[in-house]
Amino acid sequence: MSSAGIDKVRDWILGRHPERTELAADVDLIESRLVDSLAFVELVYTIEDAAGVEIDFDAIDIEDFQTLATIEKAFFA
């Protein structure tokens, strides 16, 4: 189940960037501007849907959202 979940997150990011066909687990999503400040909430909603959890916006640790690998570790492990 966990790998299916992170695949949904990867598909959502790739869906926003038609010029890309793949996304490695260690790519920094913020530095590479794949996810910007306004798209960030959509990323959070996507993770919530895929993981079946609710994320507290007031307690967000940006480290958890840095790469697909950190997202997987934080929400799908």
């Binding site: 959509e42 959070v44 916006f57």
Partner: protein, 274 residues
């Protein structure tokens, strides 16, 4: 020029870029010359989610609001607060007899006049420059330029409230209401709170703060904020909605009330008189 003048150049650069698109939301032929020297550099420095499309969508929303309000209400007194490098006096159609006041601090007004004169720009209505410090009593300067508080007014504050504290923004709205005859309108924008606290906004916000122009105030209850300060919201939109850049906004419009969503409020309001 001081820090706030550089944000005026940044806005002008954004309008110049919009004007040069194939499908522009508006065309501002003067913007490129008003953006020098730092405007385009600041576009690069302040790159961040949605900022450029937001600036363009906001300008168009306010263009539409201004034109509809002056056409529909008979208001002949329009005040641009912290006008910056705004060129609406030169590019919009105005009913005969419209007085357009541009309020900003003296050095900016002087530099803007110098550039517009060099370009041979001709205003399309009675344009009046008002040099004033918005942190001090500035209504006397506006009245000295001919403003009459007994006539209805359209106030426009584009990209201003972000830079104020909540108390200053509320105080500004109250001040405008106090000088507004019945039938006066206000068109402006407010930030939502999520934009100020999202870790993904941090780099952008840090750059603005380092340059002396931090974003400070946002609210998730815009109607309540207006009501508390003497105004009734008549039109509230978010970027991406019809009449607010639908088709140009690269994000989903989140349902009102959805947790954590980034909000940018585009607002028309009418003064409350008793």
């Amino acid at each position: 020029m001081d820090a706030v003048s550089y944000t005026a150049q940044w806005m002008a650069a954004a309008r110049a870029q919009e004007s040069e698109r194939e499908d522009p939301l508006f065309v501002d032929p003067l913007a490129r010359d008003l953006a020098a020297p730092r405007g385009f550099e600041l576009i690069e420095r302040y790159v961040g989610g949605g900022v450029l499309p937001f600036i363009s969508i906001r300008t168009r929303f306010l263009d539409d609001a201004i034109q509809e309000i002056v056409a529909g209400s008979g208001i002949q007194q329009v005040v641009l607060i912290a006008a910056g490098m705004d060129t609406r006096a030169f590019r919009l159609d105005w009913p005969d007899g419209t007085e357009l006041y541009e309020v900003d601090h003296g050095p900016l007004i002087t530099e803007k006049r110098r550039r517009l004169d060099a370009l041979g720009a001709e205003p399309r209505t009675d344009r009046r420059e008002v040099s004033a410090d918005l942190t001090q009593e500035w209504l006397p300067s506006l009245e000295a330029a001919g403003f009459d508080r007994n006539r209805p007014t359209l106030w426009v504050a584009e990209g201003l409230t972000f830079f104020l504290t909540e108390e200053q923004a509320g105080g500004l709205l109250q001040l405008l209401a106090s000088a507004s005859a019945p039938g006066s309108h206000l068109a402006f924008d407010l930030l939502g709170r999520a934009m100020l606290r999202s870790p993904f906004s941090k780099r952008f916000l840090d750059h603005l703060a380092a340059d002396g122009t931090p974003w400070v105030f946002g609210t998730d209850e815009p109607e309540e904020f207006l009501t508390a300060n003497g105004w009734k919201t008549t039109d509230l939109r978010e970027p991406g909605q019809p009449g607010a850049g639908e088709g140009r906004w690269p994000y989903e419009v989140q349902p009102r009330g959805r947790r954590g969503a980034n909000r940018l409020w585009l607002i028309r309001a009418e003064v409350v008189t008793d």
